[in-house]
């Protein structure tokens, strides 16, 4: 391999209770396109944040251009020639494209800011990338792909030698993706190193030179892309046979409980219709941004549909608000548990009882902490919640136990249709299995589940049926033996 540009030596990072990175050594060459793959929680984001200076490592060294560097903060990392493009962009929405590119560096010397010059420079940069965006436009008016281009332009304008892209393709359409590939290859020809983080292995085989697999905080393997296969990569990422990851279930499907008719809202939800049966787990697959979350938010009244209607057990349901949805037994377990699912600063008991305070009142119509605790303890048993006590604040629980509290909450409300949005995101591998067990038990008891998931294995293994969304529309429906990664992906990317 050519000259080494970036090297991480024996990086270790511990968080309370977990070793996020365990003696990781990592080395990339100039002009190389390196893929970094691994499951959620494998340590990719920790690794990036250490490179970037957002975290400091407990031990280990970072070397760039043969010199040891201390990236104490993102700015210093940038000075050292390292830029990261996150999924949530680092842009100021109210400012122009050009200003965002040159943010913090608008002025040279003592003279007033020369806007003409800045616009010209920004245009030149855009030209170099063969990209066509009005540099005077305000960033908030741009599409996601355009924002990504601005981030890349920004990285180039600070003379980045290494650019890390965090799941850049997750939000792009097929056309935009091709454009991105062109740009990445162009960067390579300019001698810039790209570290490409992605879940989509096909892409990696298309453009990357080499691939590093991270699992449970350790580097499992680094190899040339031509020397490996997809199957090998998956095995290295998962570290065991896939079958063991999911519990089996045998549930007889019952009558149709939910019927969704021609739901519409903006450009994220277009004419969505489907049905759900008793005892069924319906997978909702698609890329990030395909409109899955937006769709289920309409089902529980979190947002209002522009048109369309909903029938639960043959009854027309008004989806005006989450209250109506709760009363009809359809509930959402949001992806972002911490900001939407839980009252983090409150105890477990109160997180559960909030959906049915009527049920924990005493004869004077006042709240009874005793009853609250009794009710909560029931779920401690059935869901195997692990916590020192029922009055523990949920902010101190692990991701898996937090998810169980959200499940407990909705069981307490008597819900029949549970919508899980990314049920195992941010949850440890061991705890995932328990969540799957719980889901299986729920459908065995006659409840129904809609599961949004971006984890292909999860979708394939857990679903009775899969609906694939793309660009706000349903593109395909798979059942039984048709459910396999290739066909799901085919519909999802299209």
């Amino acid at each position: 391999m050519s000259d080494v540009i970036l090297e991480m030596k024996n990086i270790t990072k511990r968080f309370p209770g977990v070793v996020a990175l365990d003696d990781v050594s990592f080395c990339v060459g100039k002009g190389e396109i390196r893929a970094l793959v691994g499951e959620n929680g494998a340590g990719k984001s920790t690794l990036m944040k250490i490179l970037n200076g957002a975290y400091s490592a407990d031990s280990g060294e970072i070397w760039m251009h043969g010199k040891r560097v201390m990236n104490k903060n993102p700015l210093e990392a940038q000075h050292n020639g390292l830029s990261i493009i996150y999924q949530e962009f680092n842009l100021v929405p109210s400012l122009s494209v050009a200003e965002n590119i040159f943010i913090g560096r608008l002025k040279q010397g003592r003279k007033a800011i020369d806007w003409k010059d800045i616009y010209k420079k920004a245009e030149e940069l855009m030209h170099n990338l063969n990209y066509d965006i009005d540099v005077r436009e305000t960033v908030e008016n741009l599409s996601v792909a355009q924002k990504q281009m601005i981030e890349i332009t920004k990285a180039l304008s600070v003379d980045a030698k290494v650019i890390i892209m965090d799941e850049p393709s997750a939000v792009l359409t097929e056309n935009e993706l091709r454009k991105l590939f062109d740009i990445v290859l162009d960067l390579k020809s300019k001698g810039i190193t790209v570290i490409y983080i992605s879940h989509r292995l096909e892409e990696i085989f298309q453009i990357c030179d080499s691939v590093t697999v991270l699992r449970d905080g350790q580097i499992i393997d680094t190899s040339e892309i031509k020397d490996t296969t997809k199957q090998q990569l998956i095995e290295k990422m998962v570290g065991r046979k896939l079958e063991q990851e999911f519990p089996t279930r045998n549930v007889e499907l019952g009558e149709t409980v939910l019927k969704v008719n021609a739901l519409n809202r903006g450009n994220k939800v277009k004419n969505i219709s489907f049905e759900l049966r008793k005892g069924e787990i319906l997978g909702l697959a698609g890329l990030v941004g395909a409109g899955r979350t937006e769709t289920v938010r309409l089902l529980v009244g979190a947002d209002r549909a522009v048109s369309g209607n909903l029938e639960i057990k043959g009854q027309n349901v008004n989806m005006k608000s989450p209250l109506e949805a709760k009363r009809s037994g359809i509930v959402l377990l949001p992806e972002d548990r911490k900001t939407q699912g839980l009252l983090l600063e409150m105890p477990i008991t109160q997180n559960i009882s909030v959906v049915g305070l009527e049920k924990v009142k005493n004869k004077f119509r006042l709240l009874s902490r005793g009853t609250e605790k009794e009710e909560a303890m029931k779920y401690f048993k059935t869901l195997k919640i692990k916590a020192p006590s029922a009055t523990q604040r949920v902010s101190f629980l692990s991701g898996g136990n937090q998810q169980k509290v959200v499940i407990a909450k909705w069981l307490f409300s008597g819900a029949d249709i549970l919508i899980f949005d990314e049920p195992t995101r941010g949850i440890d591998v061991g705890a995932k299995y328990e969540i799957y067990m719980v889901m299986n038990e729920l459908v065995a008891q006659g409840k129904s589940i809609i599961m949004i998931s971006s984890d292909m294995n999860e979708v394939v293994a857990m679903s009775d049926r899969v609906i694939v969304m793309h660009d706000g529309e349903i593109r395909g429906e798979l059942e039984g033996a048709e459910i396999n990664p290739e066909s799901v992906l085919k519909y999802a990317i299209e």
Binding site: N90, P93, S94, L95, I103, G104, K107, A112, I113
Partner: protein, 318 residues
């Protein structure tokens, strides 16, 4: 065409408001339109307008200051008190320092200790008011001086000196906001604090300076007011924070920070000034004027939130 007009009206609500006022006066009180009313309008808005320039910078930077409401009257009293004793320029200097120091106290609590700007500036407002009232025992102090009087009431071709100073302030503020890195950093800080910090902007320093500038501007406005009214009083400028915030928000500078312009605030000041002139013209209660001003602020804030929601919906294609 209709769409474009409605878009313009939405983003320049204040021009529509001014037009409505003008039409109303043209129909019912044509005597309103004269050069002297125009001159009066300029004099009326100039002093508060200077504070409004500084407030615009602060609001773009995502902050807010209520303590201007006591810095301004305190500075009128101090000027009236100090001028005969130590001379005009030394007292101006001292007063500006006083304003800067109070601003620095606000800035310290907000930027370094990360306390809520509302509560911090509320407390400093109260504390400065206490100091001021203790200092003057609740009484006004006369400030009769030929030079300051000539300056405070003089004019060039009918345009008061004070109004000219206001214009200069507007232009300088505009220059600072659009052409200096400080100004752009204010926009970035108010637009997205974390991004600005990542980009290497010393966000704490920016936030700190916002309050110092406000302190200076309010103290300076107090000096001008003393020149014009030939007295210092604890009651002068009691409604400055309300007027100035109304003007800024009315002009279309969003309270959530990151966008806005001083020309918009200038238009906002014109509207507020016209409103109070018109109330005087038609002999309405002074109290009613305040009431309407408060109601306008509430209405604008609600409208602003509603507009934002609309824009989000539009982006989502609804």
């Amino acid at each position: 065409m209709i769409k474009r007009v409605s878009k313009f009206c939405k983003s320049y609500l204040v021009i529509v408001c001014i037009a409505v006022l003008l039409v109303f006066m043209a129909i019912f009180y044509p005597s309103y339109f004269s050069f002297s009313t125009f001159k009066g309008l300029l004099i009326q808005i100039s002093v508060y307008g200077i504070v409004a320039c500084a407030m615009t910078i602060a609001i773009i930077g995502g902050e807010f200051d209520l303590s201007v409401g006591s810095i301004l009257p305190f500075s009128t009293l101090l000027f009236a008190y100090l001028m005969p004793k130590i001379g005009i320029f030394p007292s101006i200097l001292l007063i500006l320092i006083m304003g800067g120091v109070i601003g620095a106290v606000n800035g310290f609590f907000v930027s370094v200790l990360k306390l809520n700007a509302f509560i911090v500036t509320l407390s400093t407002m109260l504390a400065v008011e206490g100091i001021m009232l203790t200092f003057c025992d609740g009484m006004p102090i006369p400030a009769v001086n030929k030079a300051t009087r000539a300056f405070g009431t003089g004019n060039i071709g009918g345009i008061a000196y004070i109004a000219i100073i206001f214009f200069i302030f507007v232009l300088v503020t505009h220059f600072v906001l659009t052409k200096t890195s400080f100004g752009r950093n204010v926009f970035a800080t108010g637009g997205n604090y974390n991004v600005a910090e990542y980009a290497g902007i010393s966000v704490k320093k920016i936030k700190f300076l916002l309050f110092v500038i406000l302190g200076f501007a309010s103290a300076f406005a107090g000096i001008l007011l003393t020149c014009r009214l030939q007295a210092g009083s604890p009651l002068y400028g009691s409604d400055v924070s309300m007027s100035v915030v109304s003007a800024t928000v009315l002009g279309g500078t969003s309270l959530s920070g990151g966008r806005g312009s001083v020309f918009r605030t200038f238009l906002g000041m014109i509207f507020i000034g016209m409103l109070s002139q018109i109330f005087t013209h038609i002999n309405a209660y002074a109290y009613l004027q305040q009431l309407i001003q408060g109601a306008v602020v509430v209405a604008i804030v609600i409208l602003d939130a509603w507009n934002n929601r609309k824009r989000e919906d539009e982006l989502a294609g609804i």
